[in-house]
């Protein structure tokens, strides 16, 4: 062993730095490596969870119940009023469902990343760094928990209810906007998860800060923007673009006036905003990881 590995290519790199096979090619292959590692680790966790079906079923039900409580609170509110901020229950349900599905998808895919601070503190992050796979993929897939499907299911049910009850003048664009909104929203929340984890490289106990943007953001987006102050709406549109998760596309679907006199075409800007968010979060992650690798803490 070893003869093969000590091939010519590595000789070439000695002292010259890494093989320069093009930045894009490298980034692309890193992405593929990451997805591959993610798939393998997640599959292993799913297999191991399925070994205890009863316990798995119970956790799904519990997760479902936890999220269902939030909708129960909204139902209670509407037991006292007919409209909230000028929106009816089915309209609020549309907002609730879309935000819930987006967060549910992001949480399912990346929720484990919250453990980063813990892993920095107990030193187990190092064990991920000596494996031939991107660290982000390894930590995101660690303890991949299908029970998080509970939140997703609940969001889907509430969205289903909204779509059945609401009287919407459907156009092809509006139909297209629903999946586009949910997926872009998931990508925006995913970016928040990654950026929050990157922050934990610097403040290891600050896991709760990211939950104020993910779960807090989710709570915000369930209610119509008319409920909130203009400054807050401005903040979540231009600074922390949570408004693109569901508000702007959903208001277009509902045919509601836009907050802050924003133009209607912004309804279709969510994928672009999501892409920018993901790029920024990726950069933040790289900064965080580089800092960890230079300070070791």
């Amino acid at each position: 062993m070893g003869e093969v590995a000590a091939g010519a290519d590595e000789r070439r790199t000695d002292g010259v730095g890494p093989v320069t096979d093009g930045i894009r090619g490298q980034a692309g292959s890193r992405l593929m490596d990451g997805l591959r590692a993610y798939r393998m680790i997640a599959a292993m966790w799913i297999r191991s969870t399925m070994a205890y079906r009863a316990s798995f079923a119970m956790t799904v039900v519990t997760d479902f119940a936890v999220t269902a409580l939030d909708f129960a609170a909204i139902l209670l509110m509407f037991s006292q009023v007919d409209v909230l901020g000028g929106y009816t229950l089915p309209e609020v349900a549309l907002l609730y469902g879309t935000a819930g599905i987006s967060l549910g998808l992001a949480d399912l895919a990346l929720g484990s990343i919250e453990q980063l601070g813990l892993r920095v503190r107990d030193g187990t992050l190092d064990t991920l760094l000596v494996r031939p796979a991107p660290v982000l993929a390894q930590i995101a897939a660690d303890r991949f928990a299908l029970r998080r499907l509970g939140r997703l299911t609940q969001g889907l049910l509430v969205l289903g209810y909204a779509l059945v009850v609401l009287d919407i003048a459907w156009t092809p664009l509006k139909v297209l906007l629903i999946p586009l909104m949910v997926l872009s929203g998931a990508a925006i929340f995913a970016a928040v998860f990654v950026a929050g984890a990157a922050f934990q490289f610097f403040a290891q106990d600050a896991a709760e800060v990211q939950s104020s943007f993910t779960y807090g953001g989710n709570t915000l987006l369930r209610y119509p923007p008319t409920v909130f102050s203009k400054d807050l709406v401005r903040g979540v549109t231009f600074v922390m673009p949570l408004a693109f998760v569901n508000w702007l596309p959903a208001l277009y679907v509902l045919g509601r006036p836009y907050p802050l006199d924003l133009p209607q075409w912004l309804a279709f800007a969510s994928p672009l905003v999501a892409a920018v968010c993901c790029a920024l979060a990726g950069a933040a992650w790289r900064v965080g990881l580089r800092s960890y690798r230079s300070t070791g803490s």
């Binding site: 590995a5 690798r293 070791g296």
Partner: protein
């Protein structure tokens, strides 16, 4: 397989003036913080040849772990040049990962809640190990490390010794050229220690795997490594044979003798001196470079002996002695080739 006079084999691991400086912030008041720099690794240079087995020792906080972390690509050096198998670890971490195996004694690289075999299956695919190779390597590890009963057990239920064996196997499935072991025998019982050492010896002899080993247990070094490097305060203090270390450090081993009854201090002339007496038990210090056998024979012949044991000098004592003896301890092997 490595008998070709390839120069690169002579410097399979190569460090030239490698440094690691940490900024440390200390809280000096309620809000005030003071920033100062700590040189965890201070201009270290050495070469390790392919197939060598080297001990890397030093007291806690000396810079051992920091060096290992730089060699595995976890940490980026602040200065100097570092190559492992021709790869710059910090720049090509994942490519290097295919060539090295790492065992951290204090924390496992295995998946805590899953059966051991699941971790191995995952390694198999993550490292893209050819099927036949994987099976052959796994079978070998199972046999030599006596693990057939452990494969279906979740890692968290393994004893420390079992887990360590599991970790060592995991680090070797992909046929690494270099194996780093950070305190591989810490907390293990005597049997597990012996098993691990035996396995490492065989691995090195049969496959020519280069091994770099940090440890607190000088017996590990004694039984495994011909060469030892001592680091303290981030600097390489010694690089050479273990016997040389004992000479330089003037270290002593201790013979603990239990006699039938309380007796005056045992007198064996200049070869050993009694350092402590406690009832029927006496402690005799003798130079670590000498064999204990003649002493034991003499004690057994002249005194009513019940039991005895030999204690190895600990690293802290050896290093303390190195300082006490003063002078330039570093042998010229390092840093000038």
């Amino acid at each position: 397989m490595n008998d070709s006079s390839d120069v690169r084999d002579e410097e399979f691991i190569r460090l030239d003036g490698v440094e690691k400086v940490f900024d440390v912030r200390r809280r000096t008041g309620f809000l005030r913080r003071e920033k100062h720099q700590v040189r965890a690794v201070d201009s270290i240079s050495f070469r390790v040849a392919r197939g060598e087995m080297v001990g890397y020792i030093g007291p806690n906080g000396a810079g051992k772990s920091t060096t290992i972390k730089m060699l595995t690509g976890i940490l980026t050096p602040s200065g100097g040049r570092l190559r492992v198998a021709g790869i710059d670890p910090s720049r090509e971490r994942t490519r290097l990962a295919q060539r090295i195996g790492v065992v951290f004694g204090q924390r496992t690289t295995l998946w805590w809640d899953l059966p051991l075999i699941d971790s191995y299956r995952l390694m198999h695919r993550m490292y893209r190990i050819p099927d036949a190779r994987y099976r052959a390597n796994l079978d070998r590890c199972i046999e030599l490390l006596d693990m057939s009963e452990l494969l279906e057990v979740p890692v968290r239920q393994l004893s420390l010794g079992q887990r360590m064996r599991g970790d060592i196997a995991a680090a070797l499935l992909h046929d690494p050229d270099v194996l780093y072991l950070d305190e591989p025998t810490i907390g293990l019982d005597v049997v597990s220690k012996a098993k691990v050492r035996e396995f490492l010896r065989e691995l090195n002899a049969e496959r020519g795997t280069t091994v770099l080993l940090t440890t607190h247990d000088l017996t590990d070094i004694e039984q495994l490594c011909r060469r030892v490097m001592v680091i303290d305060h981030g600097r390489l203090m010694y690089d050479g044979a273990l016997s040389g270390l004992h000479e330089v450090g003037e270290s002593e081993r201790t013979l603990v003798v239990d006699l039938e009854r309380e007796l005056p201090p045992i007198d064996l002339g200049p070869s050993a001196r009694v350092v402590r007496v406690e009832g029927p038990r006496q402690w005799l210090a003798f130079p670590a470079s000498e064999s204990a056998a003649p002493l034991v024979a003499r004690v057994a012949a002249d005194y009513p002996l019940v039991d005895l044991s030999v204690r190895e000098p600990d690293i802290e004592a050896v290093i303390a002695n190195m300082y006490a003896s003063g002078g330039d301890l570093l042998q010229p092997q390092a840093g000038n080739s």
